[in-house]
């Protein structure tokens, strides 16, 4: 957190090293977030690109009210929402979405079978976008409901409801699949 504050301070003063450091630090998390939101790698990459270019342009006026990561995650969510709006119904077939290779060696990854992973992935893709956005930002992006609410301009109750409905919907989708 403190390091981020120092980096932002340096960025405001034109440090290219600070910019590179921030990019290196958060690029993978943000790209993964964008992919989870958009289900389209091309849109996700565009979002990451646009967010960083805009971040640099407005860095001079930047006033962080949350962590840098939360701030960038909110920017990604907003950008993906706009790009998705521009390319309505452009959800890629599931076969083209980002999937996990078979060579995962992280124990937490091994704890989930490829089959289960795919089922959850399909269920996530079926969620209404506002619910998926809240789920992804909270669970994957680690953002607090309050911060999500601020970034989306809605009340915290709305965000919590979307999260709850999202989980319920996922639960029912997974159960339906299991019963087939």
């Amino acid at each position: 957190m403190l390091e981020d504050k120092l980096l932002v301070l340096k960025l405001k003063r034109g440090s290219t090293d600070a910019l590179r450091r921030i990019y290196e630090k958060y690029k993978d998390d943000l790209l993964a977030l964008a992919i989870s939101l958009s289900y389209d790698r091309a849109i996700a990459e565009d979002a990451l690109h646009d967010v960083f270019v805009a971040f640099v342009q407005y860095a001079g006026n930047l006033r962080l009210r949350t962590s840098l990561k939360s701030y960038l995650s909110s920017c990604i969510a907003n950008r993906v929402r706009n790009l998705n709006r521009a390319k309505m119904d452009r959800l890629a077939p599931l076969s083209q979405t980002e999937t996990v290779g078979a060579d995962c060696n992280n124990p937490s990854q091994q704890a989930m079978s490829a089959e289960l992973y795919e089922r959850i992935d399909r269920a996530m893709a079926e969620l209404p976008y506002p619910q998926r956005e809240v789920l992804v930002l909270h669970v994957q992006g680690g953002m607090k409901f309050r911060v999500i609410a601020q970034s989306q301009g809605v009340s915290i109750n709305t965000v919590q409801s979307r999260y709850r409905y999202g989980l319920d919907k996922l639960r029912s989708l997974l159960n339906e699949e299991a019963e087939k």
């Binding site: 340096k10 003063r13 090293d17 450091r21 993978d28 990459e45 996990v100 959850i120 997974l174």
Partner: protein, 414 residues
């Protein structure tokens, strides 16, 4: 198989797996870096400024902080220090009056500015209000008038540098804590000498400097029903407005605003200079109905001295890095060649507290600028055999720890 249970856990696992599988490509990295650097170059930025000694407070707080908010608060104060530290052109006559005030023995004011805060369950911004009082040569009182956390509202801290004791009490909890300040040390920046902390009158001195520099007369205005004289000065990106009591010529309120509107204004109000402050305000006796606890000194005195020294060195390294695009010095002598510290001062800080002219007692390891600042070791106490009470260690972000677990220490310096 049903997933009616632990769906949240399942989704978390799914997200962890998904996140770890995604990586940017080299082409994407190159495109984004190229375009962002280009955008950066075409965007007006502030000139790179050296980090100022005010970072000390930030580093100090960071070591002890349990709440990220504390670091943010200190950060805001540093911005003020960095900006305010520059000399302001002075009106000679007014400066002379201010010089007289400098001899004042008492001072009090309320300082206000907006800060952001965040901890595990809440975050946002709030107007921080704090009251400062001191009575020279050795009494200080600080009152926290606002806080996002109810237990801290109204917290009072009283320091007596003569008896070297500190009392703090929280009205919200009816608790009080007495602490011995015998082991509170600081380093003289010019000489590198280790000495005990003493009353700091910097806030008053700065107010006087700002007041002396405000020479644009805006005429008489009303402030809280009183007719006062309003003066202003503009300097770089800051405007300082000073309200002066025409009877005494003392400043009673100072405000700083910035051309960058996203930066919070700083207001210092209810300024009282050389007004009688009752000794009771600085009493080290806890209020009657409060539960008093006494803090034990904890670490041995020699370790506290070493910690003060190593944190000073850590701070110098951070300042160096601030001037050199995050690159830390190759060796400590680079601090001297870059003008961050004098050779004499460095030698003295590196030496044992018991042998100021002796050999260095700390070893420096140059960290990589991309390392994790709070966990990367930069300096540690040299030892032959593992000391029973641990080794003083300083990290890249300038905080310091007394590490008693040898395995952990060895892991850290690998």
């Amino acid at each position: 198989m049903k997933h009616t249970e632990n769906i949240e856990k399942l989704i978390k696992l799914f997200c962890v797996r998904k996140r770890s599988a995604v990586k940017t490509t080299a082409e994407l990295d190159e495109r984004i870096i190229r375009n962002t650097v280009l955008a950066q170059k075409t965007t007006k930025t502030e000139p790179l400024a050296a980090m100022r000694p005010g970072l000390w407070r930030m580093i100090m707080r960071n070591r002890m902080t349990k709440y990220v908010a504390a670091a943010v608060i200190v950060f805001v104060m540093i911005i003020g220090i960095v900006e305010f530290g520059k000399p302001i052109g002075a009106s000679t006559a007014f400066a002379a009056a201010m010089d007289n005030i400098r001899k004042a023995r008492t001072f009090s004011c309320i300082e206000m500015f907006e800060v952001s805060y965040e901890d595990n369950d809440k975050s946002g911004t709030y107007l921080m209000e704090q009251k400062w009082m001191f009575r020279e040569p050795d009494l200080k009182r600080h009152e926290k008038l606002t806080s996002p956390w109810p237990q801290y509202v109204g917290e009072v801290t009283i320091c007596n540098y003569g008896t070297r004791q500190e009392l703090s009490f929280r009205p919200a909890e009816k608790t009080a804590r007495l602490r011995d300040m015998v082991y509170d040390y600081t380093i003289d920046r010019k000489t590198g000498e280790l000495k005990q902390t003493q009353l700091n009158t910097r806030l008053r001195d700065r107010i006087l400097e700002w007041s002396a520099g405000a020479v644009e007369d805006c005429g008489n205005v009303k402030l809280n029903g009183q007719t006062v004289r309003k003066l202003q000065s503009r300097h770089d990106n800051r405007t300082t407005t000073v309200w002066i009591d025409p009877q005494t010529n003392y400043p009673i309120q100072v405000e700083h605003t910035w051309t960058d509107e996203s930066r919070s204004p700083v207001m210092i109000t209810a300024i009282q200079i050389d007004v009688e402050l009752n000794y009771k305000l600085f009493s080290l006796e806890a209020p009657d109905d409060y539960t008093l606890s006494v803090d034990e000194p904890g670490w041995p005195d020699d370790k506290r001295k070493l910690m003060t020294k190593v944190m000073h060195l850590g701070l110098m390294c951070v300042i160096y890095a601030g001037n050199n695009d995050n690159r830390f010095p190759g060796e400590l002598a680079d601090l001297v060649t870059s003008g961050v510290i004098t050779e004499e001062a460095l030698k003295r800080v590196l030496a044992s507290p018991n042998d100021p002219d002796g050999p260095p007692v700390f070893r420096y390891c140059k960290p990589d600028s991309s390392a994790d600042w709070p966990t990367e070791v930069t300096l540690y106490e040299i030892y032959d055999e593992w000391p029973e009470d641990g080794v003083v260690t300083c990290f890249m972000d300038g905080h310091s720890e007394l590490i008693t677990d040898q395995n952990r220490f060895e892991e850290l310096i690998k």
